[in-house]
Symmetry: C2
Subunit: 331 residues, 2 copies
């Protein structure tokens, strides 16, 4: 295992320390928790937004904390759901009296633990609502999931609900726009290599030297197919076709595109893939309103990528364009 | 070779296509060149800023084009200097009548080719000045360099000269502030694995499973030492000590810190390293004004990192904080 770490069992604590030390102008670490919150939290009368999940997906989720996006992110151990008590701490820390909204990726552990935390918070008099993100069209049910998995499309949910909450929307209005994003966002990924969980010390799976896996999950969960590595153009076509098959675009509809690196893929390759993605969307008369190419939701040092499409209307465009001061999503 | 590409000999052209397609609101591709320029270029009466170099370091350099940073980036083949004719095209495209300033990393080919382009431009009546960035304290002279190499500290030169030029400074004033940054910025890197140049098809060098190289260059040029992988704390200490030995900090001086991933290193590991970097600087009574943790100057899919310190005064702080709309350095 080649990693820049200290104790493999302390990576999450060490990472949180380094994050909080990096961006004190924007975030703070809630002492004795694995929760990072917006510096100004709680914000009086603003709906508080909480997300999180297992670690290893950085910059998700703490990188999306800041004005115009999240109020808190809860970090579990690597690829492991955070516990309900940690989520509860986050909820309490960002409750400004207008209620708290949870953005949960659809993994059984995450859903259970966030829901349990919501119940505990409600017992303490905090109003809590949630949305469950399930944008990954690759497979139904998976290693840790009943239904579809939540992957990089979650970042669009953070951005858009964050903008809505920042404008002073009510908990119910935030929930409505979150559900609109979830209904209109789809993703699919692929991998060339596996990441290595530090405490495990060896790669989560093996792919042969000339092999790729289409539809893989962000924890290395099985995808659709393993086969010889295709060209960037072929990969783009396969991902886009499967994503579009699950969406309802009409001629001239607008979309936001996210080409997301999974950790070890050079930006060069993401741009090469993007060239074909844009060409394919143009052929289908889908107007690309805005494109994002970077690492947004990773899987440790996995080589690979995902493509996300978000179908836009005027409300979603306005909220996507609204200012964000989150460290990893500045607009 | 596991890569998301089409023809290995066309990666730069394909990448440029995908970049330009991604961010049409900010940049445009100069047809039949490997030059990307700011959408509004040339800007009347503003000093035009041009940087560039071999490809494979993305988001450097095109990611730093935009309001408040560069006006153009010239892309060479992977790890290969761009030719003078391409640099000349960039200079001509961004000349708004106030002269053009070149930011060159100290590699023999880059220096020669940018200087030759400058001469050609001057022959056409365009005033050109330059700065050569040599922030890497690891070694004197290297595979492609006489003197010290230019690495991630170059991004601070882009940011600060970009802000200066945006405020309407003259070519001479831009040059002065660029030289101030170069005089006050130092970096050093380390690697755990090598990147693979697509056209070569195999890794540029080999490190054993438990081996790291301290002081390595961003093209895999030899560093100071190969040895067993140390802890993140040990790596931070080794990099910071060598960088500080070449700087002149007094108690209470302020610095900007950049912890830069070289391509395949998860952000988690960069944050773990940063925790120790901040601790060491605090011990030495250096006040950290601002920290940057991300991939800024990569080496394809090399696993590793670099640490950069920039000693700040009031002018540099103000310029560092000035707005930037560059895709990969938004402030």
């Amino acid at each position: 295992m080649k990693k820049i770490i200290n104790d493999p069992n302390q990576v999450v604590q060490d990472m949180i320390k380094g994050m909080a030390a990096a961006f004190p102008e924007c975030i703070k670490h809630l002492p004795e928790t694995t929760v990072i919150v917006r510096k100004e939290a709680p914000i009086h009368h603003k709906v508080g937004l909480v997300s999180g999940g297992g670690s290893g997906h950085e910059p998700a989720h703490a990188g999306y904390i800041g004005e115009g996006m999240l109020d808190a992110a809860v970090a579990g151990e690597v690829f492991t759901s955070p516990t309900p008590d940690q989520v509860l701490e986050a909820i309490k820390a960002v409750d400004g009296g207008a209620g708290v909204f949870l953005i949960i990726k659809n993994y059984t552990g995450d859903v259970l633990n966030f829901e349990m935390a919501a119940e505990l918070a409600e017992a303490e008099g905090i109003q809590v609502e949630k949305v469950i993100v399930n944008d990954d069209v690759a497979v139904e049910d998976s290693s840790f999931t009943s239904g579809r998995r939540g992957i990089a499309g979650t970042v669009f949910v953070h951005k858009i609900t964050g903008a809505k909450a920042e404008k002073g929307a009510s908990l119910e209005e935030v929930k409505q726009v979150a559900e609109k994003v979830v209904a209109n966002v789809r993703s699919m990924g692929m991998a060339l290599t596996s990441g290595t969980v530090p405490a495990a010390g060896k790669p989560g799976f093996q792919l042969a030297e000339n092999e790729m896996e289409i539809g893989i999950g962000i924890h290395g969960e099985p995808g659709i197919e393993r086969k010889d590595i295709g060209s960037a153009d072929e990969i783009a076509e396969e991902l886009i076709n499967k994503v579009l098959a699950d969406m309802n675009f009409s001629d001239g509809d607008e979309a936001a595109v996210m080409v997301n690196g999974l950790g070890a893929t050079p930006e060069m390759e993401l741009f090469i893939l993007n060239a074909k993605v844009q060409e394919l969307l143009a052929e289908k008369n889908i107007n690309v309103y805005k494109t994002f190419v970077d690492e947004y939701m990773t899987s440790l040092e996995m080589a690979g990528c995902s493509v996300t499409l978000l179908k836009l209307d005027d409300e979603l465009k306005e909220l996507l364009d609204a200012p964000s001061k989150a460290v990893s999503f500045k607009i």
